[in-house]
């Protein structure tokens, strides 16, 4: 269970997250939805501790306040949207670095390496890899450890259809194992297919937490895309669409 209370974040006098209160149930596949600049990635990064929220914000993971703590990160895996790995390190060295830092067994490493074909460029420098290869390494570094919470920032962005399919299947498998998965996505079909709950953010404010099916029914829309379009118009009436 992830409890977020009064989460705010201000960048250079601009409020990016405004008093967010949100509970992410254990074992849920939870999507953060919203237009660009709505604060989705900021919220994810606040969970990871890469961004420091404003004073008064509280994030509680498994009953413990995470403020000033690093041990809770043993329970998290993270897949960034645009990973930038050290160019002069080999894939093997970078994975070895993460293994040594986490002091956890990478129990899914061999399977992921085989399925994604990472063995072929295992000894190559990260700076020599193509965008697709980098994304595969990104998947490996995130999913090789067994953690109860997984955080994914636009996970399928930049992936080819084959790897996208693999990633979705992997995420579904983890969901069946009752892992808590939080992800952001701009791909409506992906959210519709994967998420059992979604939070709707607009300009740093949380508007609703709802399941995709219920949201479509409420808006009497045939697709999630249509339902969201109606929602944005209501939330942002001045915007011409």
């Amino acid at each position: 269970m992830i409890e977020i209370k009064n989460l705010s974040k201000t960048y250079q006098k601009q409020k990016v997250l405004d008093n967010i209160c949100l509970n992410i149930p254990e074992g849920s596949l939870f999507s953060l939805m919203g237009p660009n600049g709505s604060g989705k990635t900021t919220l994810l990064k606040s969970l990871l501790g890469t961004l420091l929220p404003d004073p008064g914000s509280e994030i509680i993971i498994h009953g413990k306040l995470i403020c000033g703590d690093d041990v809770y990160k043993r329970e998290l895996s993270y897949m960034p949207q645009f990973p930038r790995f050290p160019a002069h390190l080999k894939v093997a060295e970078m994975i070895h670095l993460l293994q040594k830092l986490r002091k956890q067994k990478p129990i899914h490493k061999t399977q992921l390496m085989e399925e994604l074909g990472i063995d072929l460029f295992w000894e190559k420098n990260l700076g020599e890899l193509s965008g697709g290869m980098i994304q595969k390494v990104n998947i490996l570094q995130c999913f090789m450890f067994e953690t109860p919470i997984i955080i994914l920032d636009e996970p399928t962005g930049g992936l080819d259809p084959q790897v996208t399919y693999f990633l979705k299947q992997w995420v579904k498998k983890l969901h069946q194992q009752k892992k808590t998965i939080v992800f952001t996505s701009h791909v409506m079909a992906e959210v519709d297919e994967l998420a059992d709950q979604m939070a709707l953010l607009v300009e740093g404010k949380l508007y609703a937490v709802v399941s995709p099916d219920r949201f479509k029914k409420e808006k009497k829309a045939g697709s999630l895309e249509e339902a969201l379009h109606q929602f944005w118009k209501q939330a942002n009436p001045h915007e011409k669409n």
Binding site: L48, H62, I151
Partner: protein
């Protein structure tokens, strides 16, 4: 609370805990691995490995190799006098390259720091690991370049090798001083494109402007007793401090200048060397501490 299906205890326990009986100890693991398993050491080793493969460090070492070989070949084989000549080369290149390379490397590694921060380690450990790894890479390049370039020409049987090694030590200390400054500047600069301007200004201030300012003050206020303020001003510039320390060590009073002469006069050789070295160490750790604090508060 959900039961996690694996132990979060460290997998690699120290060998003393892992092996029950003495005869079961693996000889390969007789050296306790506690040190190298510390996150700071792990990150420092990887940072070092990453940086020594960088072509710019190779160019840095090669520049020192070529220029120091040239200086010693054209000059003297006496290590005492050669140290004086090599000093100016070191004072020019070490701060400039440490600032530039440190800021480029640190700012480029920030996106990966996002992944590191998401691991169960503290920001302090990440910062110190990067600082140590990058600093040792730069120091090794300096030592190899300067060492190989000049040692080939120097007469090993002569006295003065203490001074020569003191010069190398000062180079390593200056590397860490300016590396710490570059880390701090990267952390506080809001826009990446501003970093290199700030870094170059910093170098220009300490290498050129500071001495001009000191000379200006001395000329303008020449009628007043300025010895003590001038002495204090030497401590406030690590480049000047390194210069005075080496010239005091090799006792080259002709090159010592006003500040060096003040050091000799007011502090004497022993006290001057002790206070100067302590001040240089403070110059290493204060910017590093400032850099650490700014990194701990930085949004990645």
């Amino acid at each position: 609370m959900k039961k996690i299906n694996q132990s979060y205890e460290p997998q690699d326990k120290p060998w003393t805990q892992k092996r029950g009986k003495l005869w079961r100890i693996n000889p390969a693991r007789l050296v306790p691995r506690r040190g190298t398993e510390h996150p700071v050491c792990i990150i420092a080793l990887f940072e070092f490995r990453e940086n020594i493969r960088n072509k710019w460090l190779f160019v840095y070492a090669l520049s020192f190799l070529f220029l120091s070989a040239l200086i010693t070949y054209m000059g003297t084989s006496d290590p005492l006098q050669a140290s004086g000549s090599l000093l100016n080369l070191m004072l020019l290149l070490v701060p400039l390259f440490s600032l530039m390379f440190g800021s480029i490397s640190f700012s480029e590694s920030l996106p990966f720091s996002e992944i590191l921060v998401a691991q169960p380690i503290s920001r302090r450990q990440i910062f110190l690991g990067k600082w140590l790894g990058l600093g040792s890479g730069l120091s090794l390049s300096f030592l190899l370049g300067m060492g190989l370039g000049s040692l080939m020409q120097l007469n090993l049987s002569q006295k003065g090798f203490g001074s020569y090694f003191f010069l190398l030590l000062l180079g390593v200390l200056l590397t860490f001083v300016f590396l710490s400054m570059s880390f701090h500047m990267v952390n506080v600069a809001r826009r990446r494109e501003l970093i290199f301007g700030i870094v170059l200004l910093n170098w220009f201030f300490f290498f050129v402007l500071y001495d001009l300012m000191v000379m200006g003050v001395a000329l303008l206020l020449g009628d007043y007793p300025l010895e003590i303020p001038m002495l204090i001003l030497v401590f406030l510039n690590p480049i000047d401090l390194a210069r005075v320390l080496l010239l005091m060590q090799i006792d080259l009073s002709a090159l010592m200048g006003y500040s060096g002469a003040l050091f000799q006069k007011y502090l004497g050789h022993g006290m001057g060397m002790t206070l100067g070295s302590a001040a240089l160490l403070i110059w290493v750790f204060v910017p590093a501490w400032l850099g650490l604090r700014s990194f701990q508060r930085k949004d990645l």
